[in-house]
Symmetry: C2
Subunit: 244 residues, 2 copies
DNA sequence: GGAGCCCTTTGATCCACATCAATACGATTT
DNA sequence: AAATCGTATTGATGTGGATCAAAGGGCTCC
């Protein structure tokens, strides 16, 4: 039985059961009672300032994180200094799954803007997901989705040309903003050209030139980080217009 | 002398509890009683001939597969015909995790040689892993390992040059053969130059040339698909020898 | 509100890998 | 043992994106 103990307003507002991201996040598919159980599990929240690390490669793995506000990038860094951005994460998405396998994180997670995450202690998540079938299943889906996403990135990096990569990136961003209730056609990128380039396996100059060419062709209006997509079918055409 | 209980020799030989791959596979970390429970779950086995599909993109997702013998590649194919090999899998490794998220497979799994897999019905795996903590945890580790592996491939595709990619590939293969009790320095590749190239984001000619250059430099002895690694530190040096 | 700095854009040149092409090799079939 | 076919090697040439370089914008932080 749960207590009658007074709960502060802040706690109520930040619980999964009250969170408007729950359709995108771990609670998806749970019934109200189950979401309440999840509420108890999500112990604390953490604010991360822009450019700060949520975790670093090598940090002991204890929790996964659900993004409540803001956005992140993850990257891997080689000894020789080369780095590769492995993903950009938005609200409702889960960070830290890389850490499960080796009991320590294997990449860095860095806030692209001032952000806030829900801390989900992993051993407790495993415990609860042994009891709550729908939670277990949703968690497995989230991990699997990450694998599928990664395969898409491999396809992009392994067999697309620069403009195709950028078109795919923009369409993906658009789709994710849409899922969060924002405009599909107008958004603000939180990452730099250099970070986009790293993610897409291109140099920042190449990214910039591709943006300019898209602009010249009337596909998008680019003003620094502010993007307006003017011709979604046109962007899709770039993706499929490949002479195999 | 065989058991008094009438169990066929085939069944005994193919159960997890008797399988010499169990340290590499799903049973890792389970105690004997728990492995027996897993035995019951792994209902059937399936033989797949060389070049045949274990599953195709779009197939309904019902099970994951543990490789008992042989090897596979997975690939994704775009509408325009371009394809990308997303991985090569060896004995003890698990296939099909991509299917969980969308309830259907999102890539193709094709046998590189005559192979055999254990069929693990997914809903029963979820059920059992709700009861067996160590199984749950091992399964999560396997999924996470796949994510980490994918990040490594992204690094490779996004920021390495051709020879670095091939060196990384060879070292990875060597390490995986070693883990299976084979020679670290001498092995037989089951995939073609074209498949290696697709995986590494290179054309087959580039792969072939890189092999030749490694041979000229005395790093490996290449005879078609038979590889002998002569200078492992040398290969590692190629990987780190990058002027950042 | 101004100084400084980071980020972005654009141009000129270079180079690693792709592409095109021909030959050689090896396994399988007959 | 010859014929066939998929696979691999090697050479010549082309090109997309990297690199080098410079200038222009727009934040951020005093």
């Amino acid at each position: 039985m749960k207590s009658v103990v007074p709960i502060t307003a802040v706690e109520i507002k930040t619980a999964c059961s009250q969170c408007n991201l729950r359709e995108l996040c771990l609670p998806f598919g749970l019934d109200p009672r189950e979401v309440n159980q999840l509420d108890e599990l999500v112990g604390s929240r953490r604010k991360i300032k822009r450019q700060q690390h949520l975790y670093r490669s090598g940090d002991p793995f204890e929790a996964i994180y659900a993004i409540r506000a803001g956005s992140f990038k993850t990257d891997v860094i080689l000894e020789d200094g080369r780095d590769q951005v492995t993903g950009f994460q938005m609200t409702g998405e889960v960070l830290g799954l890389d850490g499960i396998s080796g009991e320590q994180h294997s990449c860095n997670a860095i806030a692209l803007e001032d952000s806030e995450v829900c801390v989900i202690p992993f051993s407790r998540l495993e415990e609860l997901s042994r009891q709550v079938e729908s939670l277990q299943h949703q968690f497995h889906k989230i991990m699997s989705r990450e694998i599928v996403r990664d395969h898409g990135v491999m396809m992009l990096l392994g067999s697309m040309r620069a403009e195709e990569r950028l078109a795919a990136f923009l369409l993906n961003m658009s789709q994710r903003f849409t899922a969060r209730g924002f405009s599909p056609s107008e958004f603000h990128l939180r990452m730099t050209r250099d970070e986009i380039g790293s993610y897409l396996g291109l140099k920042l100059e190449t990214v910039s030139r591709a943006f300019s060419r898209f602009q010249d062709e009337g596909l998008v209006a680019v003003q620094q980080k502010h993007i307006r997509i003017l011709d979604t079918p046109g962007l899709k055409r770039i993706l499929s217009h490949h002479a195999a």
